[in-house]
């Protein structure tokens, strides 16, 4: 359509380019704490992966001459522990363990939670009801006691800790997915899929699940935080990752006896746990806002 040059049409001024496309990323990056946390978690993870081989000390190297070295004083940047092992090296190696426990436990709990929630939400009926009552029953136990009770009978290893944490943290996910799927399956597009003869599996995985991704992603992020914290608890109480394998939790445990004489031994892994857990929580908050389409207008 051509416009006459003499009179600039009123409409032209209002031809604003509407921001389109992946608004979720834009909204996420506007959530300052979440964006900051994402950067922090990414650098922490990267540091744990890359830095240890580059350090002059390994995490197991015992240097009797350098016991209880304070941070920022000698060759050991973050000081040493009672055996003279480098705290920074141990912190990063422990980070490898703690973070992988966090991510693996999250992944497993998501798989269980999604499977149970999807089945119960989609089919409902008697089996669905039994599954969800089981979820409710599991939720009745304070998970920390459950964790401790079971771990007392198990041979502690990284693998068993992961399974333990996953086994006590999938229930919330199952509930969330069940509620989402139950609501979604009543929507017309799910009926439409059945009307064209789609199999149950197709309806579940192609039509329903993608619409529940946003809350699942948020839950997954928060689950990592929860798993890291849970690992710290049980390792701190001595039922978790066993020395000499370092984890943030057992580093804290080792530091207990030296709280007054060498406080950095507790402060450093404590700070790592706090940063990682709050970081994941903020990311979860940010994702919740970013993935909520009702926020589109802002």
């Amino acid at each position: 359509m051509s416009t006459t040059a003499s009179t600039p049409p009123a409409g032209a001024a209002a031809q604003v380019i509407r921001p389109r496309g992946p608004g979720a990323f834009r909204r996420f990056s506007r959530h300052r704490l979440a964006a900051l946390s994402l950067v922090l978690i990414l650098s922490l993870t990267l540091a744990c992966i890359i830095v240890p081989p580059l350090l002059p000390f390994s995490d197991t190297e015992i240097d009797i001459m350098q016991r209880f070295a304070s941070p920022f004083t000698g060759p050991h940047l973050l000081g040493t522990d009672p055996l003279g092992r480098d705290t920074l090296a141990r912190l990063l190696m422990a980070g490898r363990i703690s973070l992988s426990v966090g991510f693996s436990a999250m992944a497993i709990s998501m798989v269980i939670g999604i499977a149970v929630g999807l089945y119960a939400g989609f089919y409902g009926g008697r089996i669905g009801a039994i599954l969800m009552r089981f979820v409710d029953a599991m939720l009745c136990f304070p998970s920390i006691f459950l964790l401790l009770a079971i771990s007392a009978f198990l041979q502690p290893s990284v693998g068993s800790i992961i399974m333990l944490i996953a086994a006590t943290s999938w229930m919330e996910v199952a509930r969330l997915v069940e509620a989402q799927i139950r609501a979604l399956r009543a929507r017309d597009f799910a009926v439409a899929a059945r009307a064209i003869g789609a199999s149950d599996r197709r309806v579940m995985f192609r039509e329903l699940l993608p619409n529940a991704v946003a809350p699942i992603v948020v839950a997954a992020t928060l689950n990592v935080a929860h798993a890291i914290l849970a690992e710290s608890y049980i390792s701190f109480l001595g039922y978790g990752i066993q020395p000499p394998t370092p984890s943030w939790g057992n580093m804290l445990e080792n530091a207990q006896s030296y709280l007054t004489s060498a406080p950095w031994l507790a402060i450093i892994p404590g700070a790592a746990i706090t940063l990682a857990v709050t970081g994941f929580n903020f990311i979860g908050d940010g994702l919740r806002d970013a993935l909520d389409p009702r926020q589109e207008a802002r």
Partner: protein, 335 residues
Amino acid sequence: MSDFLLSVRDLKKYFPGPRQGIFGKHATLKAVDGVSFDLARGEVLSLVGESGSGKSTVGRTVLRLDKPTGGSIRFDGQELAGLDDRGLRPFRRRMQLVFQDPYSSLNPKMRVEDIVGAPLEIHEPSLSRDARRQKVEEILGLVGLLPSHAERYPHQFSGGQRQRLGIARALITHPELVVADEPVSALDVSVQAQVVTLMLALRRQLGLTILFISHDLAVVGYLSDRVAVMYLGRLVELAPTRALFTSPRHPYTEALLSAMPVPDPDAPRRRITLAGDMPSPLDPPSGCAFRSRCGYAQPACAVTRPELREMAPGHFKACLRDDLALVAPSMGAAA
């Protein structure tokens, strides 16, 4: 091959209602209670009624999205009522559904190509991606959209365009029967006319048989060959469209027609206002279900439940009184 594409006999669909007391039995909600009709090939039959009349349930049960409680559904001579999902699959491509709500009926996370192409993916899995894409583009053209629209997501379309997408998805497997459940009620007037016109054109072009479910008598009168009027789960009148609009035989039809707002300020208005609301389907009146709101009810109406009787060729009604002279309202002059 029978003359009728679809023959429904004594169709019943009951739902469990609320429980009576904590340990009591569930009440029975008779959403559809003995409905029979035939649909000839190439015919448009409209199913009219108010909310709660059971018209949508008939549509969904006929397509076997719900399992009927009783009765028979014969599609092209084959009984559908007892089939399970696997048995129904070959029929799915031959009968399709168009929804009322153009927003909730399209999966927001899928692209148009995948939404409209989904029936092909299921029923012709051997089709290559390119061939499927081409068929999607063809059908988009047929419903008045552009091939490039295949790339987009549902939220990038207006309500009317979304309804076209819904129609495209329903037609891509070349079904013989289309059940259209209030396909234009959620649309604006000017867009509604576009979709009605499109449906009529497609019917002519593709020889579709349509079960059109609606509460809008003006649209129904405009596009159907025959009309069936439902009240509380039962048919009360079934007639060729012209006969129904010009000489209704059931008091409920008369009241519905008179309540229809006519877009002409000078149209003579003789309105039969029905008293009250439709009774609860959990506890319908005895005898004729309409008697509680009917101006012509007699004591006998509370006793005998009227069956559908043929009063004139093809004109059925379920009313005991044959002595009524019912009036058809003026439709107003065309502008």
